[in-house]
């Protein structure tokens, strides 16, 4: 059975002829599948800034948010560690100016603190269909390619094994004063990414990078859902 909330978002994007969901939309789809994401508010107009600040609280991360924009970092559309409303207003102006007329807004989200970054995702293999990916996140995803896959649907054991399978699996243990990651929650996230793949054929790929461990708790900080080309 398809998740109605997720489907509303996806169908709207498809009607608009879009190939991707914005970060904000992507996270709503994830949240509809009980995948923990950053608390965030999408602000399209500077009058909404104060309300958003009040809701999320400092420090904040502010990001340009549009389905049409990739490579936000390179374009200067991400401002981190915003601590005052003056800083927030300045960041808002700069981001909106940098959006080059694309439709969207500014995503105001809680700043997740954590030194351990993971990656999760969904890919569709031409032979096996939906496969869930797990690995080291951030820049290490590309450099080390320390990742593992499992075919959906995943059993809890599959999720546990795929976490154990990466070379850097000790990153999930209690290391250097950091807590051990909440593996049960990670397991649930991986299983549910697989469910999205099985239940929503319109989703062709999911890329969650980074998923930051905030203490023991994994939180999806950036997310991209790619839709199937009609």
């Amino acid at each position: 059975m398809k998740n109605e909330k997720a489907m509303r978002i996806i169908e709207k994007a498809l009607r608009q002829g879009r190939k991707t969901l914005s970060e904000y939309e992507s996270k709503q789809v994830l949240a509809a599948y009980d995948i923990p994401v950053t608390r965030e508010v999408l602000v399209k107009d500077k009058t909404g800034l104060d309300k958003a600040i009040k809701k999320i609280g400092f420090p904040l991360v502010m990001k340009g948010c549009s389905a049409d924009i990739a490579h936000k970092t390179e374009k200067g559309l991400i401002h981190v560690d915003i601590r005052t409303s003056t800083e927030a207003k300045k960041a808002f102006r700069e981001i909106m100016a940098g959006m080059e007329g694309f439709e969207g807004g500014v995503l105001m989200q809680e700043m997740i603190k954590g030194r351990r970054e993971l990656v999760m995702g969904l890919t569709r293999d031409p032979q096996f269909g939906p496969c869930v990916m797990f690995g080291l996140g951030g820049i290490f995803t590309e450099i080390l390619q320390d990742i593992s896959f499992r075919h959906a649907p995943l059993e809890a054991r599959d999720a546990r094994e795929m976490m154990q399978e990466i070379r850097g699996h000790k990153i999930l243990d209690a290391v250097r004063g950091m807590e051990a990651a909440d593996k049960q929650r990670l397991t649930g996230m991986l299983i549910n990414i697989g469910r999205i793949g099985l239940e929503i054929p319109e989703v062709s790929e999911i890329d969650l990078n980074p998923v930051i461990l905030s203490g023991a708790n994994p939180v999806v900080v950036d997310a991209l859902v790619i839709l199937k080309q009609p």
Binding site: D125, Q127, F128, C131, I147, F149, D158, E161
Partner: protein, 500 residues
């Protein structure tokens, strides 16, 4: 969707009987369609007929060729329809365009299945080839199961069915099944198995796999009482989900060893032209096989070694082993390799070391584990005592005996005798078997041979004879210590993982 007969669309609404695998693998009557009518023909049909005869196939063979005549003393029938009784199985080796018609005739003659050796179908990539393959599928859907086309067929030692060109494969049956798109790998493994001691239940080379192929055959083998170990070579698969379900189901019941080819970019190009299927991504395949609980191997040698280990060793893990052999470095590298694969080579308790030392020459030997026997001429009786003593350590679950038999060559030449005459290889193999029986702990024999030149053929012969003796006694033999340890690691992963 050839993997599931229920999904094949057919014009007629008929209920087909379940696949009669018994008739396919153990047929009593076989038609060979496409033998040469002329003496001295070398076509696939003639080759198969002669191979089956050479193998001593006990059933009735009916050769077919429109020209009639005689072959190998048998009457050639002009048409399948002329065969005087119902047939169980057919070998089809006529030109591609005549195959659908021949297949239909076999079905009407009662055949439960047919292997199509002919090529010229989907693998060509042409419209004509694809259309002919589709016709095969349609005929199959009417009630005859097809192996092939573009394949080497079925080898079943129990019934005498053999693959092409296999007039000299073993008739000793065993517990290992092998499935492969590739006929070349199938026949290579069938021959290698013969000298390595791998005994097969059935080997199926299914080529293009127009009808019966990996998933359905995996389901069959998972419940086949004749098969205890399933092995396969895969280039591409037809239906990922069906395959995943089938292999997971099979691997939960018995070991499934998979050699997946075509994982490199160049390999994928060649797969497309070889068996008309897609190779797939390396990391996805690795993950899928692991998730299914299958054992992945990476080359034909490893495939054979791992099959051998699974088929001859008890169904359990071997976390702690003893290594007994000559030479300190061999022992050191054995420890290194074992550690890489998560296997322990623990030092034996002092009491056991003392007992072992009593049976070894001094100085120069070491009884710690690895046990260094110091000199290659230690008698089989003493080696047996060493095996018996080491097995008394409760931790030891398996023993490896590495024998440097080639050192008997200088001795033989010094006394002007044949190496096979002075080397006590029969006594050695018997002593090892006795040690296994007395201790209940398996032994793997390793027979390295660094001297393989033409001037050392006597050693090659000695090693082959020793291997043969070991195999008769059910002891697995490996060329190299590393191969043996890697095979044990695969067993540990299988029985220590999902099968817990």
């Amino acid at each position: 969707m050839s993997g599931n007969p229920g999904k094949i669309k057919s014009n007629k609404k008929t209920r087909y009987p379940a696949t009669d695998y018994e008739k396919i693998f153990h047929p009593r009557t076989v038609a060979v369609i496409g033998v040469s009518a002329e003496e001295g023909g070398t076509g696939f049909g003639t080759g198969m007929l002669k191979s089956m005869t050479a193998m001593g196939y006990e059933g009735k063979i009916y050769p077919v060729n429109p020209k009639g005549g005689r072959i190998s003393g048998m009457e050639i029938f002009r048409r399948v329809e002329d065969i005087p009784e119902k047939i169980d199985f057919a070998v089809i080796a006529v030109a591609a365009r005549h195959v659908p018609e021949a297949l239909e005739a076999c079905r009407k003659k009662g055949a439960a299945g047919a292997e199509i050796l002919s090529s010229g179908f989907g693998e060509l990539g042409t419209e004509e080839g694809k259309a002919l393959e589709k016709q095969i599928q349609e005929a199959a859907a009417r009630g005859i199961r097809v192996i092939g086309p573009n394949c080497f067929g079925i080898y079943c030692p129990a019934s005498g069915l053999t693959m092409l060109p296999g007039p000299d494969l073993s008739r000793i049956s065993g517990s290992v099944a092998f499935l492969s798109q590739s006929g070349g790998i199938s026949i290579d493994l069938a021959h290698a198995g013969n000298y390595l001691g791998i005994r097969f239940s059935k080997v199926v080379s299914f080529g293009n796999g127009a009808d019966l192929r990996e998933s359905e055959l995996l389901h069959y083998l998972a419940d086949d009482p004749e098969t205890k170990v399933i092995s396969m070579y895969i280039e591409g698969i037809k239906d990922g989900n069906a395959f995943f379900t089938a292999i997971k189901n099979a691997a939960a019941k018995k070991p499934v060893i998979v050699f997946k080819g075509g994982l490199s970019v160049a390999g994928q190009r060649s797969v497309a032209s070889h068996t008309a299927s897609m190779g797939g991504s390396r990391i996805i395949w690795q993950s899928i096989l692991k998730q299914a609980g299958a054992v992945q191997v990476h080359d034909p040698e490893e495939l054979a070694q791992v099959i051998l280990a699974f088929s001859l060793l008890p169904k359990k893990t071997f976390k702690s082993i003893s290594v007994i052999g000559g030479g300190g470095a061999i022992g050191v590298t054995a420890c290194d390799t074992a550690e890489d694969y998560g296997i322990e080579v623990p030092p034996l308790p002092a009491g056991i070391q003392d007992r072992i030392a009593n049976h070894l020459p001094r100085p120069g030997s070491s009884a710690i584990n690895p046990v260094d026997v110091a000199n290659p001429y230690v008698s089989p009786q003493n080696l047996k005592e060493v095996l018996l003593a080491a097995a008394e350590d409760q931790r030891i679950e398996l023993q490896i005996l590495d024998s440097l038999l080639y050192h008997y060559q200088p001795l033989a030449r010094m006394f002007g005798q044949r190496i096979t005459a002075i080397t006590p290889y029969k006594e050695l193999t018997r002593a090892v078997r006795d040690a296994v029986d007395q201790t209940g702990k398996p032994v793997i024999a390793v027979l390295p041979n660094p001297k393989r030149g033409p001037e050392d053929m006597d050693i090659t012969e000695l090693i082959a004879l020793t291997r043969q003796e070991y195999i008769k006694l059910g002891i697995p033999v490996f060329d190299e210590l590393h191969d043996a340890i890697r095979a044990i690691a695969h067993i540990n992963n299988y029985y220590g993982g999902r099968k817990k």
